[in-house]
């Protein structure tokens, strides 16, 4: 196959990309051996690709890296404003759900206390783990010695126990109670529990 100079110029880029039919490639190689002009075009073009493809070709402006780092620190590392959309949506959903829960809890009246003599207590950490037993009125710190009916005890948070109407045990949660009245109230509640435990034992 013989190729003209015009055909070589048309295909010289593909030749350099090695993106051509092997027959045409051989014909072009043959042509380059005999045509000084086309050979100069080939080598010159190769030179262009090598020069412009060199990493040294482009210099960054002075301070570019420092400014980029500062920009990313401010907008990516520090700021939360650039979180991906899905993350923003997730955070928003959590906030909405929390608001609804809070609103519901505010709108729902507190249940009546299980013991008419008891008081609700003050400053009890809402996420404190406490235990209650079925049919009882008090909630306790786990391991409290006055827990009755221990085989039916249930673990929950102080907030949940309060919501269900349980009241703090006078023994293990005394620091959260107004002791003047609480001693009486707690004692009543404890007596209530003892009485009910005795009734259950008798029935069983």
């Amino acid at each position: 196959m013989v190729v003209s100079c015009e055909a070589v110029w048309r295909e010289i880029s593909n030749y350099l990309e090695d993106d051509m039919d092997p027959g045409l490639r051989s014909a072009m190689e043959e042509h380059f051996r005999s045509c000084q002009h086309c050979n100069a075009v080939l080598e010159g073009t190769r030179n262009v690709i090598r020069l412009y493809g060199d990493d040294r070709m482009f210099e960054l402006p002075s301070g570019f890296s420092r400014r980029m780092e500062r920009w990313l620190t401010r907008n990516v590392v520090v700021s939360r404003g650039t979180w991906p959309g899905w993350l923003i949506a997730a955070v928003a959903a959590v906030l909405v759900a929390s608001s609804l829960t809070l609103a519901r809890s505010l709108m729902t009246p507190n249940p009546p206390l299980r013991s008419e003599h008891a008081q609700a207590g003050h400053g009890i950490p809402p996420d404190m783990v406490v235990v209650v037993t079925e049919g009882a009125k008090l909630f306790h710190v786990p391991g409290c010695e006055v827990i009755h009916n221990k085989d039916k005890q249930r673990t929950l948070t102080a907030k949940e126990a309060t919501r269900e109407g349980y009241v703090p045990c006078l023994r293990c949660l005394r620091k959260y109670l107004n002791l003047a009245g609480a001693r009486r109230a707690g004692a009543h509640a404890e007596k209530d529990e003892q009485r009910e435990a005795a009734i259950r034992a008798a029935v069983d």
Partner: protein, 205 residues
């Protein structure tokens, strides 16, 4: 797993402080891509910063089958093209669009050409002359050349980034390479593009 893959995974898992370390090796290429499109250093730098934020925002969607550098450059090119479209009225093109893209291009006869060695790139003057030659190209040739020969995207990736066909990429690439070759050869002979190597009032392409 390479260091880059580790960094990508860490950033995807929330280690946002590692993001700059991940993109730092590509700063130069990203900047070159933006500059080739916008031809204004300040705009190019601003677009690079915006592009990095966009890359960070989308990194959860980055998949390992793509090259990270290519992905980053494509985001930068998109940002730069969007900026150019937005500021179209103020961007000045040095040379008019060539009306006959499909026509043949005839290289000038510089049979006694002299190779410019890569070491010459150490000289700022040489780099500046090469940048000037690149700036003389029509935008459509310059962009394709930049993406294929400077950013090393393949033909398909270049076509996708610029939204043109692979056939157009090949045609424009051929012209860009030949035009640059002519400019450089002439510049070498005539004192580095101090006078343009074509007839008065016309271009050789």
């Amino acid at each position: 797993m390479t260091r880059e893959q580790q960094l990508i995974a860490s950033v995807q898992q929330g280690r946002r402080e590692l993001f700059y370390e991940l993109v730092r090796p590509y700063e130069r290429r990203v900047y070159a891509a933006a500059l080739a499109i916008l031809r204004n250093e300040a705009d190019a730098e601003e677009v690079c910063q915006e592009a990095m934020l966009k890359a960070f925002a989308h990194i959860p969607q980055f998949r390992a089958e793509a090259r990270f550098s290519t992905w980053l450059i494509q985001i930068t090119v998109n940002e730069a093209l969007m900026r150019r479209r937005r500021d179209r009225t103020v961007v000045m093109e040095g040379l008019a669009e060539h009306p006959d893209e499909e026509g043949n291009y005839t290289p000038r006869d510089f049979a006694d050409w002299r190779e410019i060695p890569s070491e010459a790139l150490e000289r700022k003057e040489v780099r500046q002359r090469l940048a000037e030659a690149l700036a003389m190209l029509d935008r459509k040739y310059r962009e394709v050349f930049m993406m294929r020969d400077m950013e090393h995207l393949n033909i398909q990736e270049t076509a996708e980034a610029l939204g043109i066909s692979t056939a157009s990429v090949k045609t424009r690439l051929l012209r860009a390479r030949l035009m640059l070759r002519d400019l450089l050869a002439a510049g070498w002979e005539r004192g580095w593009f101090s006078r343009l190597p074509f007839e008065k009032g016309s271009k050789p392409w």
